[in-house]
């Protein structure tokens, strides 16, 4: 139990620091709220300004990027590749669904906190249908047949809705690209997720870490080769990943109907 308390205090400190920093330096991460329209020339004319994203820690981030790159190339990728040979893709997909389903209650809370009530309904419906009809979330009948597709909602986004700025771009070891705000949100969420560990009577942090690693490896095994492609075709993989992260995130958080 001790590690939980430790993590909780770390997370709390992180959130406080984030919010503090973000309020203190609102100019660092001037969020541009314009929605993306690829058919609009403004999308291409309006050049992404590094100041918009805010990467004052670039030297540190680059070092972390290198670190992650080595960890990925020599450990995570070989393990995930081996795993993908042994375990068939549909089982890996089911495992991914299972972990995804466990997260639905968190998404439900976040949609509520963001005032996206229609999405809250979708998330709740998904959770009920997939837990019962999808055998504990292994399948995704709600998304595949019934039109209740996955909903994106994280604590980082909730904080954004509440006016907390990104703070700064952060490359976290073993975790990848994030921002100070979003990463703090992720830490708090993963602590909330430990409720399941208690329900499953897991008490040691080793077990929790092993489950987390397994989940990540499983996810990676479904996305093999993507990172290599990105790296192969860019001049500066660090900038390419940073830009890709922000572009992707922006679209994920654009909840207007297509």
């Amino acid at each position: 139990m001790k590690y939980r308390q430790f993590f909780c205090s770390v997370a709390l400190a992180a959130v406080l620091v984030t919010t503090g920093l973000s309020y203190a330096a609102p100019a660092i991460a001037a969020q541009d709220d314009s929605t993306v329209d690829f058919l609009d020339d403004a999308f291409y004319d309006n050049e992404p300004d590094v100041a918009d994203i805010g990467d004052p820690l670039e030297p540190f981030n680059r070092a972390m990027f290198q670190f992650n790159d080595v960890a990925y190339t020599w450990v995570f990728n070989p393990v995930a590749t081996g795993y993908s040979y042994v375990v068939p893709a549909d089982i890996r997909g089911a495992v991914d669904n299972f972990f995804n389903n466990l997260r639905e209650p968190l998404r439900f809370v976040n949609t509520l906190l963001q005032g996206r009530f229609a999405d809250s309904g979708t998330v709740l419906t998904r959770f009920v249908i997939n837990t019962i009809g999808g055998v504990g979330g292994l399948g995704d009948p709600a998304g595949r047949g019934l039109g209740y597709g996955p909903v994106y909602a994280t604590l980082g986004e909730t904080l954004a809705v509440w006016g907390v700025n990104d703070g700064l771009y952060l490359v976290v070891p073993f975790f990848g690209p994030s921002t100070l705000r979003d990463f703090s949100g992720d830490v708090v969420e993963s602590i909330a997720m430990t409720t399941y560990y208690r329900m499953a009577d897991l008490d040691s942090w080793e077990e929790a870490a092993a489950i987390y690693l397994f989940k990540q490896q499983n996810r990676l095994s479904l996305h093999l080769g993507e990172y290599e492609d990105m790296k192969k075709l860019s001049f500066d993989p660090y900038v390419a990943l940073r830009n890709g992260y922000f572009q992707h995130r922006k679209q994920l958080r654009n909840h207007e109907v297509e």
Partner: protein, 232 residues
Amino acid sequence: MKRFFTYYRHALLMVLVALLMPVSASYAMPDPTEQMKPFLEKLVAELKKEDFKSGKSCDQCKRIVALASEHFDYYEMSKRVMGKSWRRLTTEQKDQFVNLFTKLLQYAYVGKVEDYVDKKITFKSQRIKGKRAEVKTLLVDANKTIPVSYIMLLKDDKWMAYDIVVENVSLVRNYMEQIRSIMRNEKFEGLITQLKKKIRTLEEERNKEQSQVVNKQETSSTAINVQPSATL
């Protein structure tokens, strides 16, 4: 009176034609999906040809690129990728950049398209705004679905793609930021050096892959009997 009437009728006809002109012009606007569909099918068919993988260097790439240029506007892509710096370049610099960037895109797109072979392309929807269009497709295989959008500009009855958006990440926008940071630190000359370096490594990698494929094909006839039970 009769003469006046025919004159009047002519005038009326003229007016009618004039009125109908813009309507028929917009009617003639080709459908972006209708153009993209056979085009992508042709590309994939070309890739499925036997000699593609075993071919030396990038002869096949060139074939693909020539095919692709039918609906890919490399000039427009290069221009957009350069962003604001474009206007400050001389004509020679522009040409040099377009040339090299097209070469890089060959590898980028040929590499991507090679994945298409065992996937299915489905056309989801399209959107037209003036002379621009977005065709949304899905790349589907057993495990996952990747959304790929083609952003296009109408040029002489032809829809020409100038950006590809894969999983919501715009290729042009992504290169743009990289190029920007290089231009800031190393200027145009630095960018050209980096482009050449990148293309060289991609070429080397491709040659290596290709020779591996050739070797495999040569040894495969004998390898079958001694192959360990890899299917375990």
